[in-house]
């Protein structure tokens, strides 16, 4: 059991994150900026801090989820209420009691909305804040013991109190030099999110956003600009925005939908442009309604639009390729984007079944998708497979008899686990050249893999089908033999995926999971891809050493020895002995962590491939290099086989280049990191002998090579991994093995 003692770091984290969460962030720097701003009005600042403490303490002692707590998710609504109420009234004991009560109320509203909206997979945004602040605002008339604050009216007086004449002069400089109302209102709107009325707060927040995330910063401007233009277009007086605390609705909507809850991209940006006018309308209309109650709609338009849009997106029937809801929230649009743009190709989530090729050995695609003979129209997503010799012939001898054809009578296998739903076994094989149009598909087996995915294997040999409807089959199990029944002039195997269990169903555009494509000097591993006409393909077979080495078991401990040969101090620091631990978290994700420097490398193993999926923590660690070198490793056996991938660019690029890339990342990526792994020695078919691979990591700027890292990887019988990394003139050697040895 984990100890329940209070941890200072947890408390600080939970407080700071409560501030940063207002902008969907966990950036400590942004949080520090925001705290400073909140104390521009000390009454409000204290109110906010008290609320955060109360909400977080409640969450901690009532035993709510520690991860959410430390991420600030229980605190930020209370914070906003504390700030809002604190700003209304003069600081006094009754005020802070009121704030405490409001904070408790907000906390429970937060929990309730987390539960209710969580069921629909939706965030609760600032809905709890809205309800709580309205409760307070509607009672305002009766709270006679509290005095309405006069702050915010005499800005210069307050600034003088905070920082003296110099501060006032500085502010005055800003006031006089930023004349454009477009820019002024932008800063005011940003500041208004923290209930601040003056320019400086907005400027500081803008700087904080820029440092935290370029995409968020760009989105804040985009959202604001669209609203500004729309106001002008329809003739709403815009200057009122600055004083009604609602300009931020546009900014927050843009940040939330443009880059946080959805993976940022051209399409998400496009939708911001389409949606923001609606936010404007909701703002203007709700303002009229709320005016009758003498309260402000605050962030209501933002909450309405974001929740509505996210909920609508969830009801889509077709799994989207664009406008994708952030699959793993990394807390920063850039990270989400870089990880996702690679993962889109690495893990096409639309493919829950990883089908293997339904035969032994090397077969040739005789007709692919959209084939020239029969794969047309609704039946275009199908494959015909045959066996050819090295001259490309499908048969030996005259080709007049079934037995002349290499594929005839060869085993046909189940592509994936499933249940047989149809098995036809009694159609005679045609004479070569003849076709049977009555029993078009000939002897056929249909296997149900899941409710919407069926595989159909046709033209099987007369009386060769070994399964019957209802049989459970395992991936790789023989179901029949390749034959020449049905509309088949010569022996071949017809294979298609479909969504319904019937013979004659239309085809489904669905790929094979992992297969090897034969090329001139070896093989390339393909993942979730579609074999094309005339390609020669074969199933990879598993290498036991690789399978065992990359089967990381929770609780497993590894030690890693690092030797460095470099003149640079940066690299020299890497040397030493480190311990690694394998763990699995509540989301069933397995990761390797290095407790000494809090780095984590997340991984995924689908039995055919080992993937490192993500890395968090310091990059100047042994684990980082381990992660980079072994980014993707096929567990199949075949020397000279090659696999390609791209590493998320934020893993390899930093500094000004990445800073610039962030700005335009959703539209265009000019930085790229290619990963290529070549299997040089793969032991042998008995999986004895060492495995040698080379990983080549190429950094590219506008497609041009801008640096190369070579990693020679050697894996021994006992799962000892030796990696020699070389770049520029620096060498790093990692030796990783199980601690038990």
């Amino acid at each position: 059991m984990k100890n329940n003692t209070l941890n200072g770091k947890d408390i600080v984290d939970s407080v700071l994150n409560s501030y940063a969460q207002v902008f969907f962030s966990k950036s400590k720097l942004l949080a520090a900026f925001l705290i400073v701003i909140s104390f521009f009005d000390y009454g409000a600042g204290i109110g906010g801090l008290i609320s955060v403490f109360i909400a977080n303490t409640l969450a901690r002692f009532l035993g709510y989820n520690k991860y959410f707590l430390n991420s600030g998710l229980y605190g930020f609504n209370a914070l906003l209420v504390g700030l809002g109420v604190g700003l209304f009234y003069q600081p006094s004991v009754p005020l802070y009691i009121l704030i405490a009560v409001a904070a408790i109320l907000t906390f429970f509203l937060t929990v309730v909305f987390q539960g209710v909206l969580g069921k629909y997979g939706l965030p609760y945004l600032s809905v709890p804040f809205l309800l709580a602040i309205w409760v307070v605002a509607l009672s305002a008339g009766d709270l006679s013991a509290l005095n309405i604050s006069e702050r915010g009216i005499y800005t210069y007086n307050e600034l003088y109190a905070l920082g003296g004449q110099a501060f006032v002069n500085f502010y005055d400089f800003l006031e006089t030099h930023i004349r454009s109302s477009f820019i002024r209102i932008y800063f005011h709107s940003l500041g208004a999110i923290f209930f601040q009325t003056h320019l400086l707060a907005g400027i500081i927040i803008a700087i904080g956003l820029l440092i935290y995330s370029r995409i968020t910063f760009v989105l804040s401007i985009l959202g604001y600009s669209i609203a500004y233009l729309f106001y002008h277009l329809v003739g709403i007086e815009f200057n009122s925005l600055g004083y009604t605390f609602i300009g931020f609705n546009y900014i927050l909507t843009a940040i939330a939908l443009g880059g946080y809850y959805l993976v940022p991209g051209r399409v998400s940006y496009g939708w911001i442009i389409l949606l923001l006018p609606a936010v404007v309308l909701i703002t203007t209309s709700t303002q009229q309604i709320f005016l009758t109650f003498k309260i402000s709609p605050y962030s209501l338009p933002f909450n309405v639009i974001v929740l509505m849009f996210l909920y609508a997106l969830k009801l889509r029937e077709v799994r989207p390729k664009k406008l994708v809801e952030t699959p793993v929230q990394l807390g920063k649009p850039e990270k989400n984007l870089y990880l996702y743009s690679g993962n889109l190709k690495r893990f096409p989530s639309a493919y829950p079944v990883s089908a293997s090729l339904p035969f032994y050995g090397e077969w040739t695609i005789n007709q692919g998708h959209n084939g020239e003979h029969t794969h047309k129209g609704a039946w275009r997503h199908a494959w015909d497979f045959v066996i050819t010799d090295k001259n490309g012939a499908q048969f030996k001898g005259s080709g007049d008899f079934h037995e002349d054809y290499f594929c005839f009578g060869k085993a046909v296998l189940a592509p994936f686990d499933g249940t047989v739903v149809e098995a036809v076994n009694n159609v005679e094989d045609n004479t070569i050249g003849d076709i049977n149009t009555k029993a078009n598909w000939g002897n056929t087996v249909i296997i149900k893999h899941n409710d919407y995915l069926f595989a159909k294997l046709s033209h099987l040999k007369f009386h060769s089908v070994e399964v019957k409807p209802g049989d459970q089959v395992k991936k790789g199990q023989i179901i029949g033999r390749c034959g020449n029944s049905g509309r088949s002039p010569y022996p071949h195997l017809h294979f298609q995926f479909q969504t319904t269990p019937y013979i004659g169903s239309v085809t489904l555009d669905y790929p094979f999971g992992h297969y090897l494509l034969k090329e001139e000097n070896g093989f390339t591993q393909k993942n979730f891809d579609f074999p094309k006409n005339n390609q020669v393909v074969v199933n990879p077979s598993k290498n036991e050493i690789l399978s065992e080495t990359f089967h990381f078991i929770p609780g497993q401990r590894l030690k890693i020895d690092v030797e460095v040969d470099s003149k640079k101090q940066k690299w020299q620091k890497l040397a030493g002995n480190f311990e690694l631990e394998v763990e699995t978290d509540v989301f069933n994700t397995t990761y390797i962590q290095c407790p000494q420097n809090a780095a984590k490398a997340y991984l995924y193993n689908d039995e055919d491939l080992h993937y490192f999926t993500n890395f968090t923590g310091s990059k100047n660690t042994a684990l980082y290099w381990f992660f980079i070198s072994l980014f993707k490793v096929p567990l199949g056996f075949l020397p000279n086989s090659k696999i390609n991938d791209s590493i998320p660019l934020n893993m390899m690029f930093g500094g000004i280049l990445k800073f610039l890339q962030d700005f335009i990342a959703p539209v265009f990526l000019f930085l790229k990191v290619d990963y290529a792994l070549t299997m040089k020695e793969s032991g042998d078919i008995l999986s004895s002998g060492d495995i040698e691979m080379t990983a080549e990591i190429t950094k590219k700027i506008f497609g041009r090579e801008a640096g190369k890292i070579l990693a020679e990887i050697k894996i021994g019988q006992e799962g000892k991994i030796e990696i020699n990394i070389e770049f520029n003139e620096d060498k790093i050697k990692l030796i990783c093995q199980n601690e038990l040895d």
Partner: protein, 446 residues
């Protein structure tokens, strides 16, 4: 117009109009070139007799065999049977194609190592393995196929001494329904000796049992015998798993696939009667796949076929030395290649073919080699056209065993030529000279 070839007149009984059981007498084929190179050119350059090996045929045959098995069974590995032909050039082609090495002596083991074969990819068979050989094999992590209990005891002792684990398999002999049953090698299946050996090995800490091996015989003309062998080994494989929770890694069905040569005494030519790779592959893989073994745990299938992979790639080019008649008037012919270099002539009716067009008339002939020994008979009866002294002949399908079992006797052994895939010729073994023989001799009298 070219001058017609002169043929000596001959009186023979008329058989026209009386087709015999093989139909009308047919013209014998001529083999004038090998892989596009004229036989006359080869002999002009490399002398007579001369062995010629076609790399193209080796690679094509290998590809055919590999495809036959790999499209029927998920994990297949060939191991080149060294004793069939252990010329460096030949072995290298097989290793290049991906074959492992199957050796039966310390000499062959060292030869494989010298060709760069990784020790762990050598299968060490045979009844004769000295302590020295076993030490070599253990140190190179080879797969040692144990033949008998005495070898097992020696191996346990040797591996203990070396303090290293030895990777082993046992050779199993069994009744597969063919005659003769080879029971002189390995442990018998039916009487329980093989199971006994497995138990002892599994309990021996210094041994790691990884496979089962059998070699049911040679020139097996029935594919079904392999199916019987495969099922019996599958039974042992499953029994080992059941008792010891240990999946063996491979089942080795050895060799013995027939080539297209015709055995002496055979009624029909071998090319018509011998099973193809497809038939062997079908029988073996069906037997393994339909056995009790779950398909996820199917072992690697090893094949040590030698003869069927190399026989067709070898040719012997020879020259007619003399034509004569026996006391009863039978036609006799002497050629310059004898049984000392053509060992397989004891087993097969080898195909002998002229290199130039001949007339349609064939006469039963005995072909003798050049040795001054009565046994030197290449063909005791062959319907052969008339050829003249100095004419060149080609003997086909001599790639297996001849170049390893030949002996230096009376004459020198000839050149061996390889025609590579680009049609270039290379000497891969030189013709012997006097010093080749005498350099090994010591003469105390001189």
């Amino acid at each position: 117009m070219e001058k017609l070839k002169y043929e000596k007149p001959l009186i023979s009984k008329i058989t026209a109009g009386m087709p015999n059981k093989f139909g009308l007498p047919s013209k014998i084929k001529t083999v004038s070139e090998i892989d596009g190179i004229p036989v006359s050119k080869l002999m002009e350059q490399y002398g007579s007799p001369v062995f010629v090996i076609s790399e193209k045929t080796i690679r094509e045959t290998y590809a055919e065999a590999k495809q036959a098995f790999e499209t029927r069974y998920p994990k297949v590995q060939f191991a080149w049977s060294y004793k069939t032909n252990y010329l460096d050039a030949v072995c290298s082609i097989f290793h290049d194609e991906g074959s492992w090495a199957e050796v039966v002596s310390g000499f062959e083991f060292e030869k494989a190592l010298s060709l760069g074969v990784n020790g762990s990819q050598i299968l060490f068979n045979g009844p004769e393995k000295s302590e020295e050989d076993l030490t070599l094999a253990i140190n190179h992590n080879a797969c040692i196929h144990i033949d008998h209990f005495d070898e097992l005891y020696l191996l346990i002792e040797t591996s203990r001494k070396l303090n290293k684990k030895a990777r082993v398999a046992i050779r199993v002999n069994m009744d597969t329904g063919i005659y003769p049953m080879w029971d002189r090698f390995g442990f018998n299946y039916e009487n329980g000796e093989a199971w006994n050996a497995i138990n002892r090995i599994m309990l021996a800490e210094s041994l790691d049992l990884i496979g089962l091996h059998t070699h049911i015989g040679t020139y097996i003309m029935s594919a079904s015998a392999y199916a019987v062998a495969a099922s019996k080994l599958a039974n042992l494989y499953m029994a080992t798993h059941r008792k010891f929770d240990h999946w063996l890694k491979y089942i080795d069905l050895g060799g013995g696939f027939a080539s297209k040569n015709t055995l002496k005494g055979a009624y029909m030519p071998g090319s018509e009667t011998c099973p193809s790779f497809d038939e062997y592959a079908e029988a073996i893989s069906n037997a393994l796949i339909s056995s009790e073994i779950p398909h996820e745990n199917l072992p690697v299938l090893f094949l040590e076929t030698g003869r069927a992979l190399i026989d067709d790639a070898g040719y012997l080019l020879t020259t007619v030395l003399a034509n004569k008649r026996s006391s009863i008037g039978r036609r006799l012919m002497v050629i310059d290649a004898g049984v000392n270099i053509l060992f397989t002539t004891f087993w097969y009716n080898l195909g002998v073919f002229p290199t130039k067009e001949t007339s349609d008339f064939l006469e039963e002939t005995t072909i003798y080699g050049p040795l001054c020994m009565n046994i030197d008979i290449i063909r005791d009866a062959i319907n052969f056209p008339s050829v003249k002294v100095g004419d060149q002949l080609v003997i086909e399908r001599v790639g297996a065993y001849n170049m390893t079992q030949w002996m230096q006797f009376i004459t020198f052994r000839p050149n061996i030529i390889l025609i590579d895939t680009e049609g270039k010729t290379h000497i891969i073994r030189n013709k012997e000279k006097l010093e080749t023989i005498t350099s090994f001799e010591m003469n105390p009298k001189k």
